[in-house]
């Protein structure tokens, strides 16, 4: 077996909030192989963004308590100093955010912002950085890149700004690109263009992409592997086909069936998941999904079920203690 590129072990992220400590990420183990696209899927508050941001030290602070390890080529990103992280961020691990308008500097031309990222990690001349910026804009599919490089962020459309963000992310050819809801703010036709771009970059550069998303359709289009998060933990992981088309965890199943689809039989009622996710500081013992689960029984509330291979094919892990015959004991 080859060594994973990035190995996350026992990652915990807690924030001090009024009333206690919010367990945003409650112990996550995840390995990323070089060149794959892994989707981390979950609803708001599931901890998917907190998990990703702790890999680049973007949620450190006096109110944050981050534990565990995330090892990238011998460097632990969780315990690394701020100075060390600065050399990693943008070079080895880059981030593309959902809201490109907020993430870009409004007072600086986009070409200059790409150049700046290049010169932060490479010893190249200003002119060479400028030329490379234009090349990067061309690569992410921006027409007239020489002209666009001179534009300010507000002069570009949402789709183009997201391409600029991706160009900045790619500037130093990072081994890992974290894309946090990169297409959520975009219209569906533009989303299709950006997804196609990410997939091409993965193929052409062998970039490992961590795609943070709530959209299962997006996952189905581009991801190689999927980790489903609920209330700060991974409840199921496996290949795209395993998780999306042979799901084992009741939450994954319920989530998939509640997606309004444009194909298949048109249901008059969508199967909704009752209740809402745990978001507060208090977490009852046992499976966090149990209060909303149609199959929950006593065993579910005694201890947190470990993520391990239980019901699925090799490589498919889930965190549900129920037996494979759980449908039969279901209480509607």
């Amino acid at each position: 077996m080859t060594e994973p590129l990035l190995s996350i072990r026992g990652l915990r992220v807690e924030f001090d909030v009024p009333g206690g400590r919010l367990p945003a990420v409650g112990g996550v183990d995840l390995d990323l192989e070089a060149g794959e696209m892994v989707a981390i899927v979950g609803e708001s508050g599931s901890g998917k963004s907190a998990l990703a941001m702790s890999l680049v030290g973007l949620n450190r602070g006096p109110r944050a308590h981050i534990g565990g390890t995330a090892t990238l080529r011998g460097t632990d990103l969780i315990s690394a100093s701020e100075d060390r992280l600065r050399t990693v961020r943008g070079k080895d691990v880059a981030v593309v955010f959902q809201d490109a308008l907020a993430a870009l500097n409004p007072t600086q031309k986009v070409g200059a912002q790409i150049s700046e990222m290049l010169r932060a990690h490479q010893r190249i001349s200003r002119a060479a950085a400028q030329a490379r910026s234009v090349e990067l804009l061309r690569e992410v599919g921006i027409a007239n890149p020489e002209e666009r490089a001179k534009a300010y962020p507000h002069q570009l459309s949402g789709g183009m700004r997201q391409r600029v963000m991706i160009a900045i992310g790619l500037a130093n050819e990072p081994s890992v690109l974290i894309a946090d809801e990169p297409t959520t703010a975009l219209d569906v036709t533009i989303q299709a263009q950006v997804l196609r771009l990410l997939k091409r970059l993965q193929a052409d550069h062998g970039t490992t992409i961590v795609l943070i998303t709530h959209d299962l359709g997006v996952v189905a289009e581009v991801a190689d592997r999927v980790a489903v998060m609920y209330a700060g933990r991974i409840v199921e992981q496996g290949t795209r086909d395993q998780v999306l088309f042979a799901p084992q965890h009741p939450y994954t199943k319920a989530l998939l069936s509640s997606v309004p689809r444009i194909d298949g039989p048109a249901q008059e009622r969508l199967p909704a998941i009752a209740g809402s996710p745990l978001t507060g500081v208090d977490r009852p013992p046992g499976c966090a999904f149990a209060p909303r689960c149609a199959f929950a029984h006593d065993a579910c509330t005694s201890a947190v079920p470990a993520l391990t291979q239980r019901h699925g094919k090799p490589g498919q892990l889930d965190a549900c203690v129920l037996g494979p015959d759980r449908e039969e004991v279901a209480v509607p």
Binding site: E43, S44, S157, G158, G159, M160, D187, V188, T189, I190, Q191, A192, Q193, L195, R196, H214, D215, L216, G217, V218, A220, E221, V222, D241, L244, F245, A254, L255, L256, S258, V259, P260, R261, I262, D263, A266, Q267, E268, R269, L270, P271, A272, I273, A274, S276, P277, T279
Partner: protein
């Protein structure tokens, strides 16, 4: 004649052929000369849910707001039960408005954080229906039960509720003055998928049980497929297609509708599909392209499309398209 084919509510026995809300040559222009809505003709029939879809900036929200006179159209008429309401003032405007309500996307931004939920829901009753305080409070309690929150919710304030619960409050408030027509503008877009399904089901139950007519505005075609009886598509301020729900999803007639449907990421097993990815972006709405507005992005545009603007034509009963080369064969004599 435009008669929608058999629809969900129609199966209950009521034929939906009575126009309740009608836009005629409706135009909305903003100060920056952007024509958000360009001469739209659209009918919403009593008892139906019409899904209005399109990408950001296409004018769908402006159209919805103009129907309720939340923004003033610059030309054209809005006929509610036959009466042009664009010129209404005073008491008649107030009483008409009570029958026309809106559910917003952002339930937090649209609820006053300082007021108790019962007061928020009761407010339209006091203001537009002239109810007395006791009646308004009692009705508010009933509505909070109806939307699945329970009476006790009335004593709390909006911030104590989750996004999905706040949307339930927004719906209760919209229902308070007993409206007949509701514009729901992206009502589930801000919600997580498990909660979204709850709200979609709630809206479906309410429109059926109360005989409500709804214009459901959304960019999400999957959601529209689950709530709408008919679908209307907007592009650059114009309606470019109208079709019964199942016809639309099975065989869209406009190349833009086809591209929209093809762009939606699908939960299909196996390798990724070959899809029609539209190149380019929405043109500047202040300067729409000549001819067909969609021609610069269209995969089948010919010379005529670049010069002659196609009219919206009803090419078979209940199906209209604004295209010189529709993708569905015409059936008219």
């Amino acid at each position: 004649m435009t008669v929608p084919s058999r629809t969900r509510s129609g199966e209950g026995g009521r034929a939906m052929t009575v126009p309740l809300m009608k836009a005629e040559g409706l135009r909305v222009e903003f100060a920056n000369r952007v024509r958000a809505v360009r001469d739209v003709d659209l009918t919403v029939y009593e008892g139906e849910t019409l899904g209005l879809v399109g990408e950001s900036g296409c004018g769908k929200s402006s159209l919805g707001k103009a129907l309720l006179r939340l923004i003033e159209p610059t030309a054209g008429a809005v006929r509610y039960r036959g009466l042009d309401i664009t010129g209404l003032r005073g008491t008649l405007l107030r009483s008409t408005r009570a029958e026309l309500q809106m559910v917003f996307q952002d339930p937090f931004g649209s609820l006053n954080p300082r007021r108790k939920v019962a007061d928020i829901v009761a407010e339209p009753l006091l203001r537009v229906r002239g109810a007395d305080k006791a009646t308004a409070r009692r009705t508010a309690g009933e509505l909070l039960e109806l939307v699945g929150l329970g009476r006790e919710a009335g004593d709390r304030r909006p911030h104590e509720f989750s996004g999905g619960q706040r949307q339930r409050i927004g719906i209760a408030r919209a229902l308070a003055p007993s409206p007949r027509f509701i514009v729901a503008d992206e009502p589930v877009s801000a919600l997580d998928v498990s909660i979204q399904a709850q709200i979609i089901n709630l809206l479906a139950d309410l429109t059926r049980d109360r005989g409500l007519t709804m214009l459901f505005i959304s960019h999400d075609l999957g959601v529209v497929r689950h709530v709408a009886d008919r679908v209307a598509v907007m592009y650059l301020g114009q309606i470019i297609e109208i079709a019964p729900r199942d016809d639309f999803f099975a065989a869209p007639a406009h190349p833009y509708s086809e591209a929209l449907l093809s762009s939606v990421p699908r939960l299909d097993p196996g390798p990724a599909r070959e899809r029609i990815v539209v190149d380019g972006e929405l043109p500047d709405p202040a300067a729409p392209p000549p001819g067909c507005s969609y021609h610069p992005r269209c995969r089948i545009a010919v010379d005529k499309c670049r010069t002659v603007e196609p009219p919206l034509v009803e090419f078979r009963p209940g199906r209209s398209v604004r295209c010189h080369l529709p993708l569905v064969p015409l059936e008219n004599a």
